[in-house]
Symmetry: C2
Subunit: 455 residues, 2 copies
């Protein structure tokens, strides 16, 4: 039985529970064990007295040990819990030495990062990675309820259209013995017969499946080679990329808003203990922030109007706001504070956005939209996709995209093209937003960052 | 509105539906369009007559075009459907030329593979990839209902313990300009400061999280470099790997059986049209095969007893059954036919299985189990993991594993070790089993196999 499932319904019943000793307080003729099995944040109080078999041996049980306890569930008279297990039998399954790193005290996150394989046993990380799991479940459930098909787009690609300098090269060749032809490495000898990479996005493939299923999403790992050691960059992370046919930019914003609210509500409901914990120890006000999202209407505003607001602001900017430029982190912060809630910034200058975004009638902007949320900045980035063959081709040429390499992508605009839109959400950024954790390394089980690929 | 959601409840109501023309039959003063939007296998019959605006233009609409239809839902008098949409307005959204490859006729799977970006628009592949999505949902739902935590184990690794010849190397270095030191390529110049790979399994990392959450699972892409062009091999595929603490081999088999039955039942319930389709066009008897699974008790038998049965069989084997060897495909087939249902083969000779599997008291076998199912062979492979520090270390040394490289894995046996077990299931193999499709290339959106990495 899982500790998560123990309720007052089981009062006066005999239960057998396996778990790990999170804390152990001993008195001369009785003892209290905080037993955790990881299925929820809370522990079960186990009480034993000296009538139990092997009382002396049981008193020696260390923190971190795995044990099996049989006992009767009773009302607890002590403070801090309303039920407890009065043990009739306690069996040590796996011992744990006293130098066990995860002791019942506060550890720094830096220290816990150094024992990444043990840190999910700490309350903080146990809570973080359960929220991560729960948010993933919420995402799958949202899409299922709305008839989306979950598509597994490929990670290995031989198309270089993203710019191979941003992708990891992969090979089965021996670095110390590379085949050569005309003085250059001959990639035709490699497993796929040409140079191959692992990709940073499934969007283009996603669009092909959207044109078969109307609504699809991807949810999988993504790789970037960025040599950047910040709190928000990792070389491996997970991403969600929905693509929706018969959907313009306005409908896309409706979907993004509904989607985010669904996840937040799901996590507030299913991880209430965890959210309380983060609210107390990580980000004061977190719970209120999340609850407020549910009832707010997200602002929708054009990029140029955002720049107007920024220009009128009393702030001294590090980066001067500009109608033709991206907005900086300081601007994101200001604008979400200005509106006191999430903000969709839409219709961006075409030159700073991707070639596949729908050109607006003004010929200057594209139908792109970024969702900015208070405290976390950009959470989702999306756009209506250019559905016109000739316009897309012209944009590809402008951007020097090798369009012959992805003729199939262009052809979507030939065979029953549709007004369609999609967005991407970095999963880790969502988890940081939901937990208040400010370093991406602390929401990834085993983070991969430049110079660091441990475990 | 999605076609999936149209029921008789909407009779006599006005609906507006977007989708693609799957078929178009024209008569002199009326026309019938089979409209599909990909949210389900079935199409909606759209009827229009010459009183509609632009009748002549509408009659010219090609197969594959995207259209928007407004009309009243009515009882249908024709054969083949019980409801139809009597159109008052039809708008062409995206045209489609007459050389569109996906015409309403039977195409060979080989041809459709060559237009992989269009094939999900065919009935067959539309059904395959919806079953794939639905099975993925079933898997997430099973684990959620049983309090498992979904863990995203890393794909990038610098640990070479799996044998780097089976893993893709990844790099950000320029193949034509590799840094050298002492005549060898200097991998310390690479992004992670050493050689890195993309991995074939998350099991070891999964075990670390199981010891925090009791029950975890992974579900993500996996890579193998195998240079093998068969119907069952791909270089990129998806895998599910649960790990469960306080769980021995018997309990593991209980879980595997319950898990498979859950998925099969979920797919039978949620993809009934698709299963009927496969039963008719791909594998006769598929539906019965799947239904039978639900009510059968899976046989559990030791490897040595399987060899006994094989040796007594009247068959002439290509590979002679052997107590110390793996069993061949022909043996798998025989044994599932012999028992007329799924078979767990357990307690395998230790020398042909992995180092981390629990050594049995006989010192000859390990507590490993393969699940063999009729028609598809091995579907899951699992084992109880060696939880004893000294025994695991001895096995690692026997297998020449660089145990210092994965000391953390050994340490799990030091800090509150538990009897624990896990299994792996290849997702594509499951989909092949559920659909009757016999080539792995036809259950992966964009398959990657040696010499072939298109799109």
């Amino acid at each position: 039985m899982d500790i998560k499932e123990i309720t007052r319904e089981y009062l006066d019943k005999e239960l057998t529970i396996c778990g790990w000793v999170k804390n152990h307080r001993k008195q001369s003729n009785l003892g209290f064990i905080a037993l955790g099995d990881g299925t929820c944040l809370k522990t079960l109080q186990v009480v034993y007295d000296k009538d139990i078999n092997d009382f002396e041996e049981i008193q020696k049980i260390h923190i971190g040990s795995s044990i099996e306890v049989t006992g009767i569930l009773k009302e607890s008279l002590g403070a801090g819990q309303d039920i407890e297990l009065v043990a009739s039998k306690i069996t040590l399954l796996g011992d744990c030495p006293e130098d066990y790193p995860i002791q019942p005290k506060r550890h720094t996150r830096e220290f816990l990062r150094s024992v990444a394989y043990l840190r999910p046993r700490s309350n903080l990380f146990n809570a973080v990675f359960r929220v991560r799991s729960t948010a993933a479940q919420a995402i799958h459930e949202y899409f299922r309820l709305h008839n989306y098909v979950y598509v597994h787009t490929p990670l290995i690609t031989t198309a270089d259209c993203e710019g191979s300098d941003q992708m990891f090269k992969i090979t089965t060749l021996d670095f110390n013995n590379l085949p050569k032809k005309d003085g250059k490495v001959d990639m035709s000898e490699d497993l796929f017969g040409k140079a191959a990479f692992i990709t940073g996005s499934g969007q283009l493939h996603g669009e092909t499946y959207a044109h078969a299923y109307k609504k699809i999403y991807t949810f999988g790992p993504t790789f970037r080679t960025e040599n950047s050691n910040t709190k928000t960059h990792a070389n491996e992370f997970w991403m969600i990329e929905p693509e929706i046919c018969f959907c313009d930019l306005e409908k896309l914003m409706d979907i993004e808003e509904e989607f985010l609210k669904y996840i937040v509500k799901y996590v507030l409901t299913n991880c209430s203990d965890e959210i309380e914990f983060f609210d107390k120890f990580v980000e004061q006000g977190l719970k209120e922030k999340l609850k407020k999202i549910l009832s707010s209407n997200f602002v929708r505003i054009d990029h140029k109007d955002v720049v107007d607001i920024l220009k009128k602001a009393p702030n001294k900017w590090e980066f001067e706001p500009d109608y033709n430029e991206d907005i900086a982190k300081e601007h994101e912060r200001y604008i979400t504070e200005y509106f006191n809630g999430p903000v969709f910034i839409k219709n961006w200058p075409k030159d700073i956005k991707a070639y596949y975004m729908k050109l607006n009638p003004d010929n200057k902007t594209v139908a792109a939209v970024d969702l900015e949320v208070p405290g976390a900045g950009e959470l989702m980035g999306g756009s209506q996709r250019e559905e016109d063959y000739d316009k897309l081709l012209a944009r590809m040429k402008e951007f020097n995209i090798d369009y012959k390499e992805i003729e199939w992508y262009l052809n979507l605009r030939k065979y029953g093209t549709t007004i369609h839109s999609g967005f991407g959400m970095g999963f880790e950024r969502l988890i940081m937003y939901l937990t208040g954790i400010d370093n991406i390394r602390d929401v990834i089980s085993y983070p991969r960052t430049p110079g660091s690929c441990e475990y």
